[in-house]
């Protein structure tokens, strides 16, 4: 690393219950994060349902780096870098499509969607050169867990399943809500630009302390009971799964209520086809339990957030700029349910959403606050005295405690020191 980065050694900036503001605004630290987190960890890229057919592709990203998520001509899911190896031109300028080859518009080099160069233009100028030397760059490791496609620029390291660890159970819990055990992310993404460091978003996704205040306006005008879940009387939990993965666990509240689909603010009578399909797939008893437990509220480090009815992807663009990509979860085999999921998602998130607009305002104000020098340290001590281990050994705390944020920074510190 450069001396600039060395002078910003993160270890001195992270303590068990407080972090230094510099972590959010320092460009040198952001550059280190690209190398040590975004280009090393497993990062969520997209979902197999976005490229259902052979030769489908969609433009995604790993951190600021654009990648093409491709269902290639041989049927494999691959991640290609969107850069012609000849002179570096952007190979594909479209967001999505279906094609078996990509042709660079600059000098017409053509590549198979498996990444190999298939043809030079005016080939005699290359005097029989070996085409295999000019393949597209690719993300070396790609792994899929139940339809979720992750990529890692590190050619070795832990397997995806080992990396996900306890968070795997959250994805399983999510997919249990589908009568067919599968998701279909087919509603398109809203893209919300924020002038704030990505870690403010990461920390906020499982922060149960803010909703009563940041979202009080919408709870007030919609007679929502959601506000109570985030209050001092709530039996909901915060959890640190390790590896930076965190959860806001609402199941204790839903189990106390013991009403199927209460988590979605509805009842079985209003979604009879869905309730029947669930019972047919899982049996009456298990279906009832799934419909009581609902969908998880889990942040998978560093960029995949499942928020009960929505899926978010965090994309850092610069030290002070982040994009949240968000879409409604769509459960295979549940059309009536999916329609409600879309309608609720459109109301609550995106640039004009009743909820996310206010979160985004807070991220931007956080970022401006980080630039003020006194106090330099931000505190994450809430609930430290009442942290405890659950039956699986994960740290848990009250719904309003900063257990997840401390867990995120522990993992962050270990990555940045490596």
């Amino acid at each position: 690393m450069t001396s600039l980065a060395n002078s910003h050694d993160c270890r001195a900036l992270i303590e068990p219950a407080r972090v230094h503001s510099r972590l959010y605004y320092d460009r040198g630290i952001f550059e280190q994060e690209l190398e040590r987190i975004w280009h090393k960890s497993w990062v969520y890229v997209g979902h197999v349902s976005e490229v259902p057919n052979r030769n489908d592709y969609v433009t995604k990203s790993i951190g600021p780096t654009p990648v093409l998520l491709v269902h290639d001509r041989t049927g494999q899911i691959t991640l290609l870098l969107n850069k012609c190896p000849h002179r570096g031109n952007q190979l594909c300028a479209y967001r999505e499509g279906n094609r078996s080859t990509f042709t660079c518009p600059y000098h017409s080099w053509t590549f198979s969607n498996t990444g190999e160069l298939t043809g030079f233009a005016y080939a005699d100028g290359y005097n029989g050169a070996d085409k295999s030397r000019f393949s597209l760059g690719r993300v070396p490791r790609v792994a899929v867990y139940r339809g979720f496609v992750f990529g890692s620029f590190a050619s070795d390291g832990p397997s995806l399943e080992d990396y996900l660890g306890g968070a795997k159970a959250s994805l399983d819990q999510l997919l249990d809500n589908s009568p067919e055990g599968e998701l279909e992310l087919t509603a398109g993404f809203l893209q919300h630009r924020t002038k704030a460091n990505w870690k403010f978003l990461l920390e906020n996704e499982t922060d149960g302390y803010h909703p009563a205040f940041v979202h009080g306006s919408v709870f007030q005008v919609t007679d929502s009971s959601i506000g109570k879940l985030y209050g001092p009387q709530s039996s909901a939990l915060t959890r640190d799964f390790g590896n930076g993965h965190t959860e806001f666990d609402l199941r204790p509240e839903w189990r106390r209520l013991d009403k199927p689909l209460a988590w979605f603010g509805t009842t079985e009578d209003r979604l009879p086809d869905y309730a029947e399909a669930m019972k047919a797939s899982y049996g009456a008893e298990r279906a009832r339990q799934i419909m009581i437990d609902g969908s998880p509220h889990t942040m998978i480090f560093p960029n995949l957030f499942i928020a009960e009815i929505q899926l978010f992807v965090l994309q850092p663009i610069a030290v002070d700029e982040t994009i949240q990509h968000v879409t409604a979860l769509q459960f295979k085999g549940a059309p009536a349910f999916n329609r409600r999921l879309r309608q609720q998602t459109m109301g609550s998130v995106g640039p004009a959403g009743f909820l996310l607009a206010d979160d985004t305002e807070m991220y931007e104000r956080n970022h401006r606050g980080a630039l003020i020098s006194d106090p330099e340290w931000l505190t994450l001590s809430r609930g430290l005295h009442r942290e405890r281990r659950d039956e699986n050994g994960y740290l848990i705390g009250h719904s309003t405690d900063e257990v997840p944020q401390r867990g995120i920074w522990r993992h962050y510190a270990s990555l940045m020191a490596a």
Partner: protein, 172 residues
């Protein structure tokens, strides 16, 4: 859409005189002013009971199957306004300073006492984040009532709606 004969739209009683185009323009300018000045109750009163307020994402996609930035029926327009009026919708506390220009107004079609019109809109927004420029191609369906025109449908197609955009919490 074809340009159709539009002179059969009745003139609302009490409305100012002028050609249909002039009357539509005056209505759109008034709507813009109510939005720019955060006159929430007056703006909400412009909508009919069967209203649709639509701000698409990702081009001209189907709002019944695809995500939109806004896809409000009359009831949800009411929630949107109520949230703004709490004074605790942080992204509008303090409120955005706004000035918009509505231009290129065209009459498109008339059907049973309704008028369809198009316009381009250019908006300057200043808030805590800084200054933002918004550009949109709008489509309106207006219904004639005794009180004047009412909005049945408003579609705001931001020209950059396929890209990441900043928070859009004022009335677009």
């Amino acid at each position: 859409m074809d340009q159709k004969e539009i002179s059969t739209v009745p003139e609302p009683s009490g409305s100012r005189k002028g050609s249909l185009l002039e009357r539509v323009e005056q209505f759109l300018f008034m709507e813009a002013r109510l939005q720019d000045t955060h006159a929430y109750d007056e703006w909400e009163a412009l909508w009919t009971e069967d209203a649709i307020y639509w701000v698409p994402a990702n081009g001209a996609t189907n709002p019944e199957t695809q995500m939109s930035i806004i896809y409000d029926n009359r009831s949800r327009i009411g929630v949107r306004i109520s949230q703004l009026k709490t004074g605790r919708h942080h992204t509008q506390t303090p409120r955005s300073e706004l000035a918009r220009i509505v231009s290129n107004v065209e009459l498109v079609e008339q059907t049973r006492g309704e008028v369809e019109a198009r316009a381009n809109v250019f908006i300057f927004e200043d808030n805590l984040r800084g200054e933002t420029l918004w550009a949109a191609r709008n489509e309106y369906r207006l219904r004639v009532s005794d009180a004047g025109f009412m909005m049945v449908r408003k579609k705001v197609s931001l020209v950059n709606n396929h890209k990441p955009i900043s928070t859009l919490s004022f009335l677009i």
